[in-house]
């Protein structure tokens, strides 16, 4: 059983991003970058499956610039066996990322591919589903529990209304939700060891896939802010304000 984990390097979730005043985009130039939080969870699950003897190999793969080596090194330090960097000058749109990852999946032939449910920068929530379509594999999105069983797997999905359990045939693509597990921190000795693990690089252009963007970004703006409100003395005043001033009760 081989597991491929798709990892994206994103602006750290604690950073408050800045929108450029000319509307041309978001200024990330000096922002702290990290592994997308959902991808940490995906990777943690793959490592746990290996530790439980259910998987033999965990491979981390990312599409990004040379700087994305850092999240792959983190992945190796957490416990991935090897890593693949598909180099692209700018990170392509999800559809193109899906095509590149599908190409890797065709050569690596994993039994399971894990994705985060969404990247916290573009909030697209689509790359895993797209990769699954391109490969013609089964898919289980928003997964909070996984049980592998031979050539099938049982996945518990977080859906509107509660939880849904489905069974998928392998190979499969799953996108993971927050409550699947709690990712570990890489220990210092493992960070040292990770430096010797294999990190393969290739150019996206060499995969022969057109990654030209399909969406034209016309503008990027700040959301309209809220004006600051008032402090009330207690519940009686609150009920009064909600009834009389706001008219919502």
């Amino acid at each position: 059983m081989k597991i491929l984990v798709a990892i994206k390097r994103v602006v750290d979730h604690n950073v408050k991003i800045r929108v450029k005043s000319d509307g041309s985009g978001v200024d990330n130039s000096n922002a702290k970058m990290s592994m997308n939080p959902f991808d940490e969870i995906a990777l943690e699950e793959a490592i746990r499956l290996k530790e439980a003897g259910k998987a033999d190999e965990v491979v981390a793969v990312t599409v990004g610039g040379l700087a994305a080596q850092d999240v792959l090194r983190t992945a190796l330090a957490m416990g991935a066996d090897r890593a693949i960097l598909i180099k692209a000058d700018t990170i392509p749109e999800p559809l193109s990322v899906a095509k590149l990852l599908a190409a890797i999946a065709r050569s690596e032939t994993p039994d399971l591919m894990l994705f985060g449910k969404q990247a916290i920068d573009d909030d697209c929530n689509q790359t895993g589903q797209m990769t699954s379509a391109l490969l013609g594999w089964s898919q289980a999105t928003f997964v909070s529990h996984i049980v592998l069983d031979g050539d099938r797997a049982r996945a518990t999905r977080e859906v509107d209304g509660g939880l849904q359990v489905i069974e998928v045939t392998l190979p499969s693509i799953m996108t993971v939700d927050l409550r699947l597990n709690e990712p570990r921190y890489a220990s210092l000795p493992n960070i040292m060891k990770a430096k010797k693990k294999p990190l393969e690089e290739m150019n996206s252009a060499d995969l022969g896939i057109d990654i030209a963007p399909r969406l034209r970004v016309i503008a990027t703006e700040e959301p309209s802010g809220r004006k600051s409100g008032i402090t009330l003395s207690g519940m009686s005043e609150l009920i009064d304000k909600l009834k009389v001033e706001a008219g919502v009760l």
Partner: protein, 309 residues
């Protein structure tokens, strides 16, 4: 050319999010057909036929479609796609599961969670947990969008479009349904409720959450939400989570109790009309978005609120 709206429903009932996505479809403009994918789904199909502006309802029923699993639903949508210029779905967990799969089959880049229709091919969508709003224009031959339903009001329901059953081809399923674990509730549905009360980590236990939050919700007739911290700690079920990665809500009143106001939480509720925060820390970031703030202990405030309502 026409628009196909993928409906979310539970076979009996058409979800309010579908009526909201319909409003976005009307703004895009064109003849609109609604697709009901399910089994024994006459109830949902009839409800869809009443949505104002619908040309016809397509009803696709079969065993493999009962629970709208991604593979079978996407295959059906792909087979219908040649007749439509635009495919629209509410950004519910169903829409988010199925639509990117359809988009990839059609070699189209999906526009996720639109909050505004600027032109038939141009949309606004939030990125970075709503800290920036992007305007994007589609250059693909087809347009595939999911709709953030909190930003659109439901369309009226005085239509009477015909319902047409469509044949489906049976393909061997890649995945099978095992079970749904849904808790039934008489409370309004979170995504479309007019009033929402949410609890955070401050509640301290599931027992406290039920004892303090639910009686106020019942008095108000409000839906109940929670922060991720409250859900992770098991105080509240997962589908109550409000935020960047949970439900997006925009009720008339959002009452945040013992919630600090992390950006990921604000992403899910800052478009509410009126926001109230009760928090014992006067510096909590939630007060920066609250119209009315009360600095105090929820263990005193909530029982008092309940008794005075």
């Amino acid at each position: 050319m026409a628009i196909l709206l993928f409906a979310d429903h539970d076979n009996d009932v058409l979800f309010d999010q579908t009526a909201r996505a319909m409003t976005a479809a009307l703004q895009i403009g064109g003849e609109i057909d609604v697709l009901i994918v399910g089994k024994n789904a006459q109830g949902a199909a009839q409800a869809a036929s009443h949505l104002t502006g619908v040309r016809k309802v397509l009803l696709a029923e079969g065993d493999a479609l009962e629970h709208r699993l991604a593979e079978a639903s996407a295959a059906l949508l792909v087979s219908l796609a040649p007749h439509y210029a635009t495919l629209v779905a509410p950004a519910t967990t169903s829409g988010k599961n199925i639509f990117p799969r359809v988009a990839a089959f059609l070699d189209v880049m999906q526009v996720s969670e639109i909050v505004e229709v600027v032109a038939p091919d141009t949309f606004k969508r939030p990125i970075y947990a709503g800290n920036a709003i992007q305007t994007v224009q589609v250059t693909d031959a087809k347009i595939i969008v999911t709709v953030r339903t909190a930003n659109f009001t439901p369309t009226a329901q005085d239509g009477h479009a015909p319902v047409e059953s469509i044949a489906i081809s049976d393909t061997p399923p890649l995945s099978t349904f095992v079970e749904n674990r849904f808790a039934s509730s008489d409370r309004p549905e979170l995504s479309s409720a007019r009033l929402v009360i949410s609890g955070g980590r401050a509640l301290g236990s599931e027992e406290n959450f039920r004892r303090l939050i639910l009686p106020v919700a019942d008095k108000l007739g409000a839906a109940v939400g929670a922060s991720r911290a409250a859900v992770d700690a098991g105080y509240a079920p997962n589908d109550w989570q409000v935020g960047q990665t949970g439900k997006i809500v925009a009720p008339d009143l959002y009452l945040a109790c013992g919630i600090s106001g992390a950006i990921q939480h604000l992403a899910g509720m800052k478009d509410s009309k009126v926001i109230v925060a009760i928090n014992k820390d006067a510096d909590a970031p939630i007060f920066q978005v609250a119209d009315y703030g009360v600095v105090g202990d929820i263990f005193d405030m909530l029982p008092e609120l309940e008794s005075k309502l």
